[in-house]
């Protein structure tokens, strides 16, 4: 779906532009970050890192930020096609996100820190140690939810980073794969490598905490064997507060967390789903399919990004 100008190695992340469903940022293990015009199915721009890029994000419609194994945080001006190295971490950067409410870029790294960056200057705005390597993070309003190795989850107040607001442990037994905050910011969804997703709430009060739950997903039963797949990607629909999950089984499911129902499942994709992104208007879902070396170095289908138009029937609670 991304045509001949697609990434030449696995896709690590896909993100839609905040202002338009037309533009998609794609970061890849081929060390590039590419900007695609999805309506024209063409690549508009591409820039390089020294090493595989693990995550990317838009600061605004004209600035892309990205980081990866080279530990360098870069921003690229999409108008002028110019790079800037904003700063570094001490180990590969795993996550790059933007917080509009506080107007700050957030990065998480295997160096066990989260760093904030002022996007305008741009420059570093603080380094905050986490208990473990950062695997995933998500912004909920003015709060930051960080998922680290060792199944730790930390909630930070981005306006007051002097202390951790909440320290939690993942309610799932296996390694945390992805965390995404609800569109309504009341909670977050956490997925693990063991075909399971937990729906959690941020309000620590007992009545709210009782609502949390978890469910199994992305599992295949055949021939007396149950295969359990990592759930690599989560993305929330911007309007309906429903979310999609993508796993290494190649399936994408869309869930309604409040009615606790699955809304739909797409046909099986040729290989693992590495990343998912709903467009800001909720009309499109970008599905990055890349083999993620779950089974070592074996031959596998080509990497691709699929853009799928989603309907209300598929994404809206019933």
């Amino acid at each position: 779906n991304t045509g001949d100008n697609g990434p030449e190695d696995s896709v690590s992340a896909v993100k839609f532009s905040p202002s338009s469903a037309q533009f998609l940022l794609v970061s890849s293990w081929d060390c590039t970050v590419r900007l695609f015009d999805v309506s024209a199915n063409s690549m508009r721009m591409k820039y390089q890192h020294l090493a595989p890029v693990l995550d990317c994000a838009f600061y605004d419609p004209t600035h892309a930020w990205s980081g990866g194994l080279d530990s360098q945080l870069k921003t690229h001006d999409l108008n002028t096609d110019q790079d800037t190295i904003v700063g570094t971490h001490d180990a590969p950067i795993r996550c790059v996100e933007y917080c509009p409410e506080v107007n700050v870029m957030v990065t998480g790294s295997w160096d066990m820190s989260v760093r904030l960056w002022d996007p305008r200057t741009p420059c570093n705005a603080g380094t905050f140690t986490q208990p473990e390597k950062v695997y995933t993070l998500s912004v909920a309003g003015d709060r930051l939810i960080v998922g680290t190795a060792g199944r730790r989850v930390l909630v930070w107040d981005l306006r007051n980073m002097g202390y951790v607001q909440q320290r939690r442990e993942s309610s799932l037994k296996y390694q945390t794969r992805c965390i995404r905050a609800f569109t309504n910011k009341q909670g977050y969804v956490l997925s693990s490598i063991e075909g399971r997703v937990a729906v959690e709430y941020l309000d620590p009060s007992l009545e709210v905490q009782k609502k949390k739950y978890a469910f199994k997903c992305h599992r295949l039963k055949e021939n007396g064997i149950e295969q359990v797949f990592p759930v690599n990607a989560i993305s929330f629909h911007s309007v309906h507060n429903t979310f999609a999950t993508g796993g290494s089984d190649g399936f994408v499911n869309i869930w309604d967390p409040f009615n606790k129902k699955r809304l739909c499942q797409f046909h099986r994709y040729p290989t693992s789903v590495a990343s998912l992104a709903f467009s800001t208007d909720g009309s499109l879902l970008a599905i990055a399919c890349s083999y993620m070396q779950e089974q070592g170095d074996v031959s596998h289908p080509a990497d691709a990004v699929f853009i799928r138009q989603v309907t209300d029937a598929e994404t809206k609670p019933k």
């Binding site: 030449e8 090493a51 693990l54 190795a149 037994k173 937990a198 499911n253 070592g296």
Partner: protein
């Protein structure tokens, strides 16, 4: 009648043993007679509430509930209407009532008799009392056991987190709390069952064993079992995925279904929501209980986690591959340092000796489409110095092709069971 299981007794006041037709009237009575402050006449809601009020407002302590009969004056017991009454007293009350009703029956029969029979009547109640209490006692043990098991199970579950699926029904929002009520609620429920329910009476023997299996049986197995007990409840809750998600971990699911089947008729809406959910939203579980054991135990022979190494993430593992390692700029790195951490990882530093790789590590290289031609492309506009020309020396690893065995790598057969995280 939602509460019939808990109290078949008419409402009565624990403090003074008076009977009432309606719990509302009972509560009014309690507020007026037992929970009324003698100083300011304010009516509180409970005994402790009254005590606190007197202390805070009047600086006075009270040690007994006003107008209560001896033995029932405990100010610290939180009783409201019929709620909070200690089990023992409920049973005492029942027994007393039964005595009374049998006594009055006997009296009716003996109405024509002379006064001598009054002595017999006195003997009568006591002789009735024992048989009456025995059946109750007989029912108690299985019930307390059954009551206990959800207890520790419920405790285990919050502690263990949501190891399993806790997707409870639409109607019931409290997955965890749902497990607690069956604890205290079940014993009172059970005595209600025996009349005319012999097959179910026999069943209570099973549930204590069944939950025991997931709970007391190895802690390790309990983890998969615990999710299994919930997984049965989870099935209806993502209906479109019911088939795909009926992943049940071996035997435990079968046993967990039996308590769910026996209790649905006796479950209050407020307790065991998972049970009610499974019986109300999906008709299948009760109907298929008997067939389930046969199907499920043969269905799942192995559970395979398609993730190579639990300690590091997929990206970290991939980053250790040599073709990426050489791209990472670092000041005089040592391959060993970079590839150290997990014992099964460390591909980077071990290129020469890759024959000895543990099965999980893929030793082979498979030249993937255009991989090595990648990096040097697209150099324009690239800041921060040129790319080291590693990309050019494409065949960096001798075509290893040490064929890994047919089954995909990284599979460990019974991953779900025990140990590591549990």
């Amino acid at each position: 009648m939602g509460r019939k299981k808990k109290k078949q007794l008419k409402p009565w006041c624990w403090y003074c043993n008076r009977d009432f037709d309606d719990e509302k009237i009972l509560i009014q009575h309690q507020k007026a007679k037992h929970f009324k402050c003698h100083i300011c006449h304010k009516k509180l809601y409970t005994g402790p509430g009254l005590a606190i009020h007197c202390m805070q407002v009047h600086k006075e302590t009270i040690d007994a509930v006003p107008n209560a009969i001896p033995g029932r004056t405990d100010i610290e017991l939180e009783i409201y209407g019929m709620e909070g009454i200690p089990e023992k007293d409920i049973q005492d009350r029942r027994r007393v009532l039964e005595q009374k009703s049998q006594e009055s029956q006997k009296k009716k029969q003996d109405q024509d008799d002379s006064d001598e029979d009054d002595d017999d009547d006195e003997a009568g109640p006591s002789s009735f009392q024992q048989p009456a209490s025995q059946p109750q006692a007989a029912y108690m043990p299985p019930m307390t056991q059954a009551g206990m098991h959800p207890g520790p199970q419920a405790q285990g579950m919050p502690r263990a987190g949501y190891a399993g699926v806790h997707v409870n029904s639409l109607k019931y929002m409290m997955p965890m709390r749902g497990m607690m009520p069956p604890g205290p609620a079940m014993p009172p429920m059970m005595p209600g069952m025996p009349p005319g329910m012999p097959p179910h009476v026999a069943r209570p023997g099973m549930p204590p064993m069944a939950p025991a299996a997931p709970i007391t049986a190895p802690r390790m197995a309990s983890r998969p079992a615990v999710p299994a007990t919930q997984s049965a409840a989870s099935k209806p809750l993502f209906p479109s995925a019911v088939q795909a998600q009926q992943t049940v971990l071996g035997l435990s699911s079968t046993t967990s279904d039996s308590p769910k089947v026996t209790f649905p008729a006796y479950t209050q809406p407020s307790s065991t929501p998972s049970v009610a959910a499974s019986s109300s939203t999906v008709a299948k579980p009760p109907a298929t209980v008997t067939s389930k054991p046969a199907i499920l135990t043969t269905l799942i022979a192995a559970i395979v986690l398609l993730h190579p190494d639990e300690d590091i993430s997929l990206e970290e593992r991939r980053a250790q591959l040599p073709r990426y390692q050489r791209l990472i700029p670092r000041p005089g790195q040592t391959a060993a340092a970079a590839a150290s951490a997990p014992p099964s990882g460390a591909v980077g530093g071990m290129i020469p000796s890759q024959q000895v790789i543990p099965p999980q590590q893929p030793g082979m290289r498979h030249p993937i489409h255009g991989q090595y031609g990648g990096p040097p492309q697209g150099m324009p506009g690239y800041m921060g110095g040129g790319m080291p020309p590693y990309g050019q020396s494409a065949p960096m690893v001798p075509p290893y092709q040490s064929g890994p065995p047919g089954p995909p790598m990284g599979i460990r057969p019974p991953v779900m069971s025990p140990g590591s995280r549990y």
